[in-house]
Symmetry: C2
Subunit: 197 residues, 2 copies
DNA sequence: CCCAGACTAGACAGACCTGTCTGGTACTTT
DNA sequence: AAAGTACCAGACAGGTCTGTCTAGTCTGGG
C-alpha cells in the first residue's frame, strides 16, 4: 500500500548519518525494500549503518521488530505525503491527482513495488506482527481514499474506494513486474472508468 | 498471474506418490506456495518428498532450477485451465466467467496470492531466470485476456485487456492481504465498469 | 569526580543453508 | 552375467543466519 510517493525509502532516507538507531532504520529501509527482507541479514545492516551488533540489539529486540519499525515509519511518511497532496488540490480533482502521482511513482527509479505488499509476501502467517502493521496500513489507505471521494461528493464512495484500492494494487504489481510506462499509460483510463461507474 | 484456479498447487498436486522427480516437484510446489521460496530449504523438501539428496540434485542442478520448474509446471496447468474455461462458454460471457472463477478462487482455502507475483517479490533481480518465467507467464496471460475480448468482438480489446490485467492483480493482492470475501464482492462491479468503458 | 548508559569491536553458540561426495542397493537392459 | 542407471542414506564442507555475551571506550549529568 502506501499509495503514493514516499513509499520508496531509498528516495527519502538518503542520510546514513545521525544517531545509531536512525542510521540502522535508514539503512535497513533501503536494503529491505531493494533487496528483500529475508535476503538481508543483521550483519549487513549493522555493517552498512556503521553500528555495533550490541547497539542494534539494544534498540531493536529482534529482527522482526526492526521490520515492524521499518514499515511503521514508512506508513507515517506515506500518510503525511498523502494528506499533503490531497489537500493541495480541489476535492473533485484529488482522486485523479493521487493516481497521477502514483503513475509517476511507479515509473520512478528504483521502484520495486509496494513495501507493505512485499512484506506480506515474505511473512505468509497472517498472525505475524508484521502482517498487523501491513493490515493497519491498508485499512488507513482504503479509508483515506474513501474520504477523498466523500469530500468530492461522489455518489458511491464506499464501493468506488474499494475498486480504486484494487486498481492501485494492480498498478503497483504491474509497475513492479511488467513495464511501468505501459502501466502508467493504462492507469488514467481505468481510474476514470471506475470513478464514472 | 495465472488468473484462474489451478494456480494453487496444494489443491492440484495432493499426490506425493509417483516417481521421485514428481514427488519433489509436488512437494516443493506446495511448500513454496504456502511457506515461501526462501523460507523452504532443500532438506525439508527432500524429507517431505521422501527422496535422497543425491537424487534431488540428479534431477535439478540447483534450487533455482527447481523454482523455475515449479513455476513452469504451474503455468502449464494454469494455461490449460484457462483455455478449458474460456472455451466452455460463449465468447461474450467468457470475461465474466473467468473473473467469477477468479473471485471464487481467491476465496478458496489456502489461497495465498499469485505464485508468480510472490516469486517475483522474492527474486528482485529482473535478470534472474525465475523472473524470466514470471515474465513469460504474464505475457501469456495478457495475450489470453486480449484474445477473449477479440473473440467477443470488444471494440477496444487491447486497452481493456491491460485494464483487466491490472484488476486481476489487484484482486489477487486484495485476496491475499485483505478479506477475500470483500474483494470478491467488489470484483464484478469493477469488471463490468472496465469492460463497458 | 563519578558513574550510568550508550556505544564499539568482535568472539561465540547453535542452527540452518546449498551443494558435493562416498558407498551401497535394486532394477533393467543388453 | 554384466553393466549401466536410478535410487537410497547420510556425512561433509563452507558459508550464513539470529541472537548472546564479554570486555572495553566514550560522554554527559549530578
Amino acid at each position: 500500500m502506501s499509495s503514493i510517493p514516499l513509499e520508496l525509502p531509498g528516495a527519502l532516507v538518503p542520510t546514513p548519518r545521525g544517531r545509531p538507531r536512525d542510521r540502522v532504520l535508514a539503512t535497513a529501509s533501503v536494503l529491505f525494500y531493494t533487496v528483500g527482507i529475508r535476503a538481508v541479514g543483521i550483519d549487513r545492516i549493522i555493517a552498512e549503518a556503521g553500528v555495533a551488533k550490541a547497539t542494534f540489539y539494544h534498540h531493536f529486540p529482534t529482527k522482526d521488530a526492526l521490520v515492524c519499525a521499518y514499515l511503521t515509519d514508512l506508513h507515517d511518511r506515506s500518510a503525511s505525503a498523502f494528506a499533503a497532496l490531497a489537500s493541495s488540490v480541489e476535492p473533485v480533482d484529488a482522486v485523479l491527482a493521487l493516481f497521477d502521482a502514483l503513475g509517476e511513482f511507479t515509473c520512478g527509479p528504483g521502484f520495486r513495488g509496494c513495501a507493505f505488499v512485499n512484506a506480506a509476501v515474505e511473512y505468509p502467517d497472517p498472525a505475524s506482527p508484521v502482517r498487523a502493521v501491513v493490515a493497519d496500513h491498508r485499512r488507513w489507505y482504503a479509508d483515506a481514499v474513501r474520504d477523498v471521494l466523500v469530500a468530492a461528493e461522489h455518489p458511491s464512495p464506499d464501493e468506488t474506494a474499494r475498486m480504486l484500492v484494487m486498481l492501485r494494487d494492480g498498478v503497483v504489481i504491474g509497475g513492479q513486474v511488467d513495464d511501468p510506462a505501459a502501466v502508467k499509460a493504462t492507469l488514467r483510463a481505468a481510474v476514470t472508468a471506475l470513478v464514472a461507474a
